[in-house]
């Protein structure tokens, strides 16, 4: 039914990035019951970690090859072009966001929400807000992983240059930077109040660099250690330790009965706390251990929707944010009943898969340059042969 993935690609990356995109969409629909399925409820880390790590991995893998073959300038130019695309996507989403806010603010007069009217304060000075937003100094909720991505990509060329030569040293630098930023409380400031980026780029760069380091062969080098039984057991233990803790957090009646030394929650997401980072790394180690590169299910039909979404991560991420705005709109305008939450969640995921499939189909057509397909048996979009 859906276009087949290209051969030779590590489908695990696309699969899990697709999964994280679904989760990010579900988590972003406010008060959505389907978000109960997402990993944030069962451990310290969530889909954001998956997304940032895999983005670092693929960026290093793809642009590292370009930089090796065609030099630093071409590689850097490609990376900055990507950063620019993400910036344009961010501005695109911003317009929808402002449109929805403008609509609500001009019609909203229910005395029940007098306190929440404060959210529209920034609209008093649209000139300032728009400029600040374009300068990434005004970041609406739910879109804030994109600015992080822009910041990370913008500073990636020198990082990648160094990493191609001294991968371990680069990783050490990144770890050092993480701790220095933590010690000095570094973060980027935001308009109009004295607050800062929700995803602190000085902290989250570490996960991106770890991803890049793995993408450039680090993963292969540490795999004997990662696959050793004691490490696997340790990772599993940590996940088993985290799951009930996170779950109990959602049921106050349970968490009230926990001993006080277990009160390590809530964890700092802005600064990527060590608990979260190690939770994600443990999860990743287990996944790599139990899902081999050539796992059969990755080429099965039910994995294909996820892989398609993962292949077009930027576009599908933006679509997901846009769909979460729309889902929210439907939930407030039509009905917020639980059945409706399930329906908009399913419809959103359906649309994400459809759009991803269309993009793959279109890309394949473009590649062939309008010539007739080389083989009539090749699978295409919609179950018919591609033409």
């Amino acid at each position: 039914m859906l276009p087949a993935p290209p051969a030779g690609r590590d489908l695990r990356l696309d699969f899990f990035r697709g999964l994280s995109l679904w989760f990010i969409f579900l988590d972003h629909v406010p008060s959505n019951i389907v978000a109960w399925f997402t990993i944030r409820n069962y451990g310290f880390s969530d889909a954001s970690e998956v997304f940032v790590f895999i983005s670092g991995y693929t960026a290093a893998f793809v642009y590292g090859r370009v930089m090796n073959e065609r030099g630093f300038i071409i590689g850097a130019a490609r990376i900055l072009k990507r950063a620019w695309q993400i910036y344009v996507a961010f501005v695109f989403l911003l317009v929808f966001y402002f449109a929805e806010i403008a609509y609500v603010s001009s019609h909203f007069a229910n005395p029940l929400y007098t306190e929440e009217f404060g959210i529209f304060d920034f609209f008093q000075k649209p000139d300032v807000v728009l400029v600040e937003a374009l300068m990434l100094r005004f970041l609406p909720a739910n879109v804030d992983v994109l600015p992080l991505y822009i910041a990370l990509m913008t500073f990636f060329p020198p990082v990648l240059w160094l990493m191609l030569r001294q991968p371990d040293f680069t990783l050490l630098l990144s770890i050092g930077f993480y701790f220095v930023a933590k010690a000095f409380d570094w973060n980027l400031a935001l308009y109009p109040y004295d607050h800062s980026w929700f995803f602190n780029p000085f902290a989250w760069q570490l996960l991106f660099v770890i991803g890049a380091w793995c993408g450039l062969g680090g993963a292969r080098r540490v795999s004997p250690i990662l696959n050793s039984p004691p490490v696997i057991a340790l990772c599993a233990l940590y996940l088993v330790f985290a799951a009930p803790l996170q779950l109990s957090w959602l049921f106050p009646s349970l968490s009230g009965r926990l001993p006080s030394w277990l009160l390590i929650l809530p964890l700092d997401k802005t600064g990527l706390s060590g608990w979260r980072l190690f939770h994600f790394l443990a999860l990743a180690a287990l996944v790599i251990h139990y899902v081999p590169f050539d796992a059969k299910f990755l080429r099965s039909n039910w994995a294909r929707p996820l892989i398609l979404c993962g292949e077009h991560s930027l576009e599908i991420f933006c679509l997901g944010v846009f769909l979460s705005f729309s889902a929210h709109f439907i939930l407030t305008e039509v009905s917020s009943l639980i059945a409706m939450q399930i329906a908009v969640s399913l419809a959103g995921i359906g649309l994400m898969v459809t759009v991803a499939a269309l993009m793959t189909w279109y890309k394949n057509i473009e590649r062939r340059g309008g010539k007739p397909p080389p083989s009539a048996t090749q699978e295409g979009f919609g179950g018919v042969t591609a033409s």
Partner: protein
């Protein structure tokens, strides 16, 4: 896709009529249960037959003597007076609109000495979530604020942001509620999860929380919140006299 659109149609049909449900304050027990106790409240009621309550918030409409308001401090006062016959119940609402916790915390000593509350109901988190201030720093400020209130001789009940479906996508109160939960556990005080309670009402159709204009929901919601907080205070302070409903 066919399956999907069929499901969607079914859901749309099912969703329609449930809107006009009865207005009842009922919520599942797990939404309002608490293991924490309010010992000072219990003592004050039993020994001194007095209960001085301060409602602290940043909500513009929650300011002044409770009996001059038509919001939950007023209904809370009424409910408690009804249940605690022979006790002098007095509720005062102090609001500091648009101020974050750092500014509110500075006022705590003054409020304590002026009002001498035995119970402070502290509604917080909305302004902080709207401004996106650091949730970690918020947790620390809240923790020291609660400690100051406790050292000043008051029990504390925390109340988180309300559920506002229209603005829900513009800011995320989750991290702030998590920090309130953390403070409520380390300081052993109740947390009234107003967000989840109201979300339950919205999802079950008990109240229509999406109206853009004033449709009378304000008073109904505040009546229920006043009643549920009164229930919580009675339970956590181990007071008898709960009115059965």
């Amino acid at each position: 896709m066919k399956m999907l659109s069929a499901t969607l149609m079914l859901v749309l049909l099912a969703a329609g009529p449930a809107r006009a449900a009865a207005d009842s304050c009922d919520v599942p027990d797990n939404l309002v249960e608490t293991l924490a106790r309010l010992p000072r409240v219990g003592l004050s009621v039993k020994r001194d037959h007095k209960l001085e309550i301060l409602v602290l918030s940043a909500a513009p409409k929650l300011s002044g003597e409770a009996n001059s308001l038509k919001s939950y401090p007023y209904y809370l006062e009424n409910e408690l007076r009804e249940r605690l016959k022979g006790t002098d119940v007095h509720v005062f609402a102090q609001s500091e609109p648009r101020k974050t916790i750092l500014e509110v915390a500075k006022d705590l000593p003054r409020l304590l000495s002026e009002r001498q509350p035995v119970l402070v109901i502290w509604q917080t988190g909305t302004v902080e979530a709207m401004r996106g201030i650091d949730p970690d720093g918020y947790g620390r400020a809240l923790d020291s604020g609660v400690a100051a209130l406790q050292n000043g001789g008051a029990d504390v009940v925390l109340v988180n942001q309300q559920y506002s479906p229209r603005t829900d996508f513009m800011f995320d109160g989750g991290p702030y509620t998590e920090n309130m939960r953390w403070v409520s556990q380390t300081r052993d005080i109740p947390l009234f999860n107003r967000y989840e309670v109201m979300k339950y009402w919205g999802e079950t159709g008990a109240f229509d929380l999406t109206a853009l204009k004033n449709d009378g929901t304000y008073e109904k919601v505040h009546t229920c919140i006043g009643r549920l907080i009164a229930d919580l205070v009675m339970r956590a302070a181990s007071l008898s006299g709960t009115v059965e409903r």
